[in-house]
Amino acid sequence: MNTPFRAHGHGHVDRDTTLSFTFDGITHTGHPGDTLASALLANGVHRVAGSIKYGRPRGVLAAGAEEPNALVQIEAPFPEPMLTATTVELYDGLVARGLSGQGRLSSRPDPARYDTMHAHCDLLVVGAGPAGLATTLAAARAGARVILIDELPRPGGSLLGGQELLDGAPATVWADGVVAELDAHADVQVLRRTTAFGHYDDGLVLALEKRTDHLGATAPAHISRQRVWRIRAKQVVYATGAYERPVAFDNNDRPGIMLAGSARTYLNRFGVLPGRRAVVFTTNDSAYPAALELADAGIRIAAVIDAREEVPEHWRAACHERGIGIRAGHVVTGTSGVERVTRAHVAAFGRGRLGERQGIGCDLLLVSGGWNPAVALFSQARGALRYDTGIGAFVPAHALDGVRTAGSASGTFTLAGALADGVDAARRALSAIGRTCRTTALPSPAPLPDAAPAHVLWRVPSPQDDQDGAKQFVDLQRDALVSDVLRATGAGLRSVEHVKRYTTIGTAHDQGRTSGVMTSGIVAEALGVDVADLGTTRSRPPALPVAFAALAGRNRGELFDPIRVTALHPWHVEHGARFEDVGQWKRPWYYPRADETMDEAVLRECRAARTGVAMMDGSTLGKINVQGPDAGVLLDRLYTNMMSTLKVGRIRYGVMCGVDGMAIDDGTVIRVAEREFLLTTTTGNAAKVLAWMEEWLQTEWPDLRVHLTSVTEHWVTIPLVGPRSRDVLALVAPGLDVGKDAFPFMSWRDATVAGVAARVCRISFSGELAYEINVPAWDGITVWKALHTAGGAFGITPYGTETMHVLRAEKAYPIIGQDTDGTVTPQDLGMSWVVSKKKPDFVGKRSFTRAENRRGDRKQLVGLLPADERVLLPEGAQIIATSEIPAPPVPMLGHITSSYRSDALRRTFALALVRSGTQRIGETLYVPLDGRTVPVTVTEPVLFDKEGTRRDG
């Protein structure tokens, strides 16, 4: 295969193995260790994408996560949009194409697995460049628990992209040795292909590990493709390096324009020559090693354009040796070329004035405007930044207690400095958690001459004759221009945070790594303020794009939210129940037979309960055991009615209110023993009611001798309902006297039911003769089946929540949370009888006498009968007084809270909260529905068996 731009003798890719990939329909080859970008460049492909707004050809600007241009869509093995070619590890069979802006999500479900891993350490080191390796090594030798994460498949960071020597050998040899030592430490974990993307409270760092992305179609299906690490670290050291920044000049976006350090990385890490003939434009020393190494590898360096008047003598000498001309005090003012840069326009630049321009032919224009320490995560941790005039960039102002930076991320750009800073960071971090760190011997880099000061240059003025249409790009991904920044400042914006939002600079998925600081510089110049005072924008998570699937981890599909089931659940599934979600519970909704509709099934189930016998799974009801000498006192204070007078063996219905007097829950209370009660809560409120009771008990009345214990799941609860329920119970509980007088309403008995010790309660949520059989959950299925069998002769019918709702609504038993919304008192529900007049106080009582609560025009629970008995009103529908909808604002009298078809009433009916409802009984009101109004008659809420004659059978 012909890859014309491979530099032989350079790079860490595996040349013995060839990978085939397709880009924009053309098949190319690369090697393991390549990124998609390096493989494209090796094949001479520079134009990767079109820009989002102007559709201009774009190439590869950088070699890592800072890339703003080279956006690609992966098509195979599985579609994934919006990736940068510089961060996609090459694999065999990769199919990708360049993107103009937005990509396309797959319409197929992603077959890959994603997961989460929690980890804990004394010290988290982010970045395995020279500083991070030194930090980790020092901390590991001190015996600390350390996690080192790095985004690349191979540790080494910037060492992989340079030609530095340490102790006379290539620096990567040292790095490999350090990693080998770290891998041998039991308390050290080195995570490769892992990028920190968020710093959260208390040392929590989230990082994304790409585990199988690089395996392409051969990725094993059982291994998670990506993993989110949740790392809780006592100390964090960000050794995240620095990103080179460009300089803005006219048409600074053409393919072939590349950051100088990135070109150096392509040569040294990937063995790729990003061009044949290069112009190098710099404001600082760092472009010189790039120019020299690329020249030595065979690239013709047409000129070095140095914005500084003074160029250090040693660089002059080294360039002279290679025949490279240097133009000091010059800048690049613009470029020519469309699909690829063909010419750099160069002019002298001093005192704000450009000299005469001259074109230099090139197919590669390398740019270095200086280096920005990678402080995004430090900034997320709320670390303050300060402007360092020496390097013209923002650096951490000072370390935080648990978070610090090391090496280039601190603005220490020399190799020797980074290594020393790394060890120092380890020492300080461990010292902060009371550990000591001995000195670690460091390798010596080759001596370097002192660095000369950089010239801070944000942009080159646009030459007069080019103002028509020449564009100076700041944020290449957002296609945001210098002129956009100036428009923002012209509109009066003074804060870089506002400019960011006005221009969208820094909001693309590169998060402004190459454009953010430049924007500060341009805004400062435009406003005539010091960039140090202006500052830069604060970073927010995530620092890089993370797929929702990765964030979700295992929490998808059936694991999205816990599915809570009762002990009877398998029976319901076997018998074809349709389920309703009630909180996290799956409850049987109805049990359709053959091709029954839901309406048909519910009417049949209702009929069985009212005329024969029916049974349901009521196990989800919250159950709280209340024990202790003061149990009655506590319940008297929390329920609106009196509980302490309840006799052992008896049951009472109760309502709890908030201090505002509004109903918050209801249920039954049974007195188990002198010092023991068992109360039930609504299904959805079980945890809330227990927490509410505990709050009063622990914080307000700690002297009460009461203990509360949740026993919700200890019991399976089976309501057995209907005129024939007594017959069925008698069959399965032969030892129990089920006679009307022997076992009266609102009492309970211990009994043996189907051979199981059970507690049987005579309570009813339907108005029918009914029992509630409670057994330990593990016996539940035995008892349920026994009831089902014994009831067979009576046509026993299992029913679900829908039928339960219809039956209770016919009797106007409210559902807290459906017929109430936190603004409804027991009196509003027509339940003044449940509010004790004897008790001196209980929670909510004082509020009942507030003027607001005594108003006659409060909304009250009433029944509604649609004039057309076939019309089912939607729950939530509004109620008005007139048949014509008046002009807005329409006076609303209330809304429908429950609405059903009733088998017993042979018609539809509803419950509603209606203003002055009890005074409107007999009136006709109207419900706007589908462009008309439906007349309804207001009735007493109880619509079935008003006399309550059915509960004794």
Binding site: H222, L559, V565, A567, G628, H707, V711
Partner: protein, 195 residues
């Protein structure tokens, strides 16, 4: 009252075969129908001391579990313990506790069917748990005998560390969450099943 007890069905009785297919590095077994009693008593009170004497146990302090004879005592809160014992000892244990408490203020509630118990063992256990549990299971932080009520995935659990480095743990989970947790555990072990 003597009752001929029918077969009992624990929340995860249908999962036995799925658990059996897990690799040796992570063995999962349900310990069904254990006796579980919630004991509430003020530490150091007459009732608490009497219970300790009667059962020959020490009521452990925060975040600890104590084993004595057949009763495992798990700390659940500052005045709350869960006593875990074999199925057969329920009535005996209840009777002994109630007798030890006498007229003092301390309470016992039978919650045996409220939770089920999963025994996990194998060298992969800490790694599997780390996929859904924010607790640091390093033995220097969470040694043998630790008892923590916390979250695993999205399920409330009580975690008892029974083997060095969390190589053996109990997970007590509320019955309604048991199948969710079992589904999660099997999913979290996918990587080992494939290899």
């Amino acid at each position: 009252m003597t009752v001929e007890t029918p077969a009992r069905f624990s929340p995860l009785s249908q999962w036995r075969d799925s658990f059996a297919q897990l690799p040796t590095g992570v063995q999962v077994r349900e310990l069904p129908c254990l006796t579980q009693l919630t004991l509430r008593a003020e530490p150091g009170s007459t009732a608490a001391r009497s219970i300790e004497a009667s059962l020959g146990i020490t009521l452990p302090g925060p975040l600890r579990a104590e084993v004595s004879e057949d009763v495992e005592v798990l700390w659940m809160g500052p005045d709350e313990w869960l006593l875990v014992a074999p199925e057969v000892s329920r009535h005996d244990l209840l009777a002994r506790l109630r007798s030890a408490i006498g007229d003092e203020f301390a309470t016992v509630t039978d919650v045996s069917a409220q939770r089920t118990t999963l025994a996990l063992s194998g060298r992969l256990v800490p790694e599997v748990l780390a996929r859904g549990c924010a607790i640091d299971l390093d033995p220097r932080v969470t040694p043998v005998g630790s008892c923590l009520t916390t979250l695993l995935a999205q399920a409330p659990i009580t975690l008892v560390v029974r083997g060095e480095g969390a190589s053996s743990v109990w997970l007590l989970v509320r019955a309604s969450f048991a199948s969710y947790l079992a589904t999660w555990l099997l999913d979290a072990c996918t990587e080992y099943r494939g290899s």
